[in-house]
């Protein structure tokens, strides 16, 4: 059982390693000196915590205006690309599930390859497409790029859900006189919905977090939250506001996940 102790020790160390930066993200949101990112004055005395960065964010202070704008852009891009990729991903999964021809094997390769390619290759190749077509990079190119890398993830999630789907249910609907559209919207879609929602959540997180692909196709002046943050040099005076905003996002996600756990837990106990 010696090895077991050793592995538990490694696990604790790894968990500490994973959490130290997160704790610091929260702490850095309260840093009084935004240039040197420190809680201490030059003579070593403790300056204390400050809430002014949170004040800036909630007050829409001009120092954080660009940051907030980039954040809204991220939300809009993530929202739209989630919706589009959910539609494309669902139809794609349905096609891959239902048919097994040559068309579908090409289709499958098209869906699967973006998953195993590094992000940067998707970014550079889309940039090349836009260069070759003479398209000006901006909001629309960002949106296209985000949909492109999100579709595959949604497809895979829905496809996993479809694997458990009993095809006889749709057949029963057909036998009872439902047309293909009616059967899809009233029978298949409600059953697939949890899979689509899970895929959509994945797409949203990937889209809102993406920096690599966006930095290739954003053009000059259009920044999402991640590209804006990465373009802030270490000389930025408002760095703590980034950490404050991230802390707010973290709290928001935790509450959201907690609520969804609570709701699913309640419906499960109801079913029992």
């Amino acid at each position: 059982m010696k090895r077991s102790m050793f592995s538990v020790f490694v696990l604790s160390a790894v968990l500490a390693f994973l959490y130290v930066p997160i704790i610091l993200v929260v702490a850095y949101g309260f840093v009084p000196n935004g240039i040197a990112m420190t809680f201490f004055a030059s003579d070593g005395s403790f300056l204390g915590f400050t809430g002014k960065w949170y004040g800036y964010i909630f007050g829409g202070h001009h120092a954080v205006r660009a940051l907030l704008e980039s954040f809204w852009l991220s939300l809009i891009v993530a929202g739209i690309s989630t919706l589009v990729s959910c539609v494309l991903g669902t139809t794609s999964a349905l096609a891959l599930h239902k048919w097994r021809g040559r068309l579908q094997s090409i289709h499958h390769a098209l869906v699967y390859t973006p998953l195993i390619m590094p992000d940067i290759l998707i970014g550079i190749s889309l940039l090349m497409l836009f260069v070759a077509c003479g398209v000006e990079c901006g909001f629309w190119t960002i949106l296209i790029a985000h949909v492109t890398f999100c579709v595959s993830y949604v497809t895979m999630t829905v496809l996993a859900r479809l694997a458990d789907f009993d095809d006889r249910i749709t057949e029963a609907a057909y036998d009872l006189g439902a047309g293909p559209w009616y059967a899809f919207f009233h029978v298949q879609l409600p059953i697939l919905l949890p899979g689509i929602v899970a895929g959509g959540l994945l797409a949203f997180t990937l889209s809102i977090d993406d920096v690599v692909i966006t930095s290739f196709v954003n053009g000059a002046g259009t920044n999402t939250f991640p590209t804006y943050v990465s373009s802030m040099t270490k000389h930025s005076r408002n760095l703590p506001s980034v950490f404050a905003l991230s802390t707010l996002m973290l709290i928001f996600t935790c509450v959201l996940v907690g609520l969804s756990k609570l709701i699913t837990g309640r419906t499960q106990s109801k079913r029992k």
């Binding site: 097994r100 390619m117 550079i124 190749s125």
Partner: protein, 336 residues
């Protein structure tokens, strides 16, 4: 339904359902890939555009810079993968041995850091690795130990170690040896970023592993570590392969981490692609580097597929042999 699956020629419904995603991905994934490949066979003009058809781009890739960068990228990705796997295996083992309730809690808490933006986490590291911080002090101790370990070796061996990234090229100077803007920072933060992607597949494989096999091996006299190596590791090999790919591929394509933490000391293919594509606008060079990166990603994927196929056929053959043996023995039993 089943007849549909065997239809050879796609019917109208199939075209209709396939078209949206197929056309989107063909237009925005397959076509761009072809364009990238085509651009590599063009020269570049001074205004940042694409010039005439020529092989000059491929000839220019011999530029002493590029092979060194490709080698560095492969070496660092390998290093990151190795560290991630070494840390992930004991973690996965520990989680898999917990009670189901604790398992889901711990597995969930490994993914939780991902709810903070990736760039922000890298930024937090950048702040932590500041030259005045305590991590810098640890790094200096590490460098001193390394100097002491390898300092006595003959010069040519030291050079080989430097090339492999094991030893540092000169004596340790506290003023210039900062952990920020060094390769060590890139490896550290890459492991931090990719580790959960290594733990998850290994844990999924370990969860299905029958731990009573380990006890059986011990009962038969195997030492703890021997049983772990001979029984547990082969038992989770599928998880290990996907963990290697999950870390190695993004590490090859890594560009944000070296850009923010590597300084001028650590430039990888990803950074060079970005520089060539955005900053000094040499589209053909960027395309050629991207092609090289795609090749270095496809090789491990191809290898793993070949390996899996071989494993499958080996498993099948073993099964066939066992069945044959079983059948012959039962027939012998029948004869007797």
């Amino acid at each position: 339904m089943n007849d549909n699956k065997r239809t050879r020629f796609p019917n109208r419904a199939e075209w209709l359902v396939t078209a949206p995603s197929f056309l989107w991905l063909a237009l925005f994934f397959a076509v761009p890939a072809v364009i990238v490949l085509a651009f590599t066979f063009h020269g570049h003009d001074a205004s940042g555009g694409v010039g005439e058809w020529s092989l000059s781009t491929w000839r220019e890739l011999v530029d002493p810079d590029y092979p060194a960068i490709v080698w560095n990228t492969l070496r660092i990705s390998f290093e990151v993968t190795l560290w991630s796997i070494v840390l992930a295996v004991p973690c996965a083992y520990a989680i898999a041995r917990m009670s189901p309730k604790w398992r889901s809690i711990v597995a969930g808490s490994i993914m939780l850091p991902f709810w903070t933006s990736f760039v922000v986490r890298v930024f937090a590291w950048k702040t932590m690795l500041h030259p005045d911080g305590w991590l810098q002090a640890c790094y200096l101790v590490f460098l001193r130990v390394r100097e002491w370990l390898f300092g006595w070796l003959p010069a040519f061996l030291q050079k080989a170690l430097v090339l492999l990234g094991v030893a540092s090229s000169g004596p340790v100077d506290p003023a210039t040896s900062t952990i920020l803007d060094s390769e060590a920072a890139v490896v550290l933060v890459s492991v931090y970023t990719f580790l959960p992607f290594a733990i998850m597949p290994i844990y999924t494989a370990a969860e299905k592993f029958d731990f009573s096999l380990l006890e059986a091996a011990r009962d038969l006299g195997a030492k703890n570590f021997y049983a772990f190596r001979k029984i547990f590791i082969p038992g989770i090999r599928q998880g290990l392969v996907s963990a290697v790919l999950m870390v190695f591929i993004p590490a090859i394509g890594s560009y944000v981490i070296p850009q923010m933490l590597g300084g001028t000391d650590c430039v990888l293919i990803g950074n060079k692609i970005f520089m060539r594509a955005i900053q000094n606008r040499n589209i053909p060079h960027a395309s050629a580097l991207a092609t090289l990166m795609a090749v270095s990603v496809l090789i491990p994927i191809g290898l793993s597929m070949w390996w899996k196929k071989r494993q499958d056929s080996r498993d099948r053959r073993r099964l066939e042999e066992q069945t044959a043996r079983l059948m012959t023995s039962s027939m012998e039993g029948g004869v007797q």
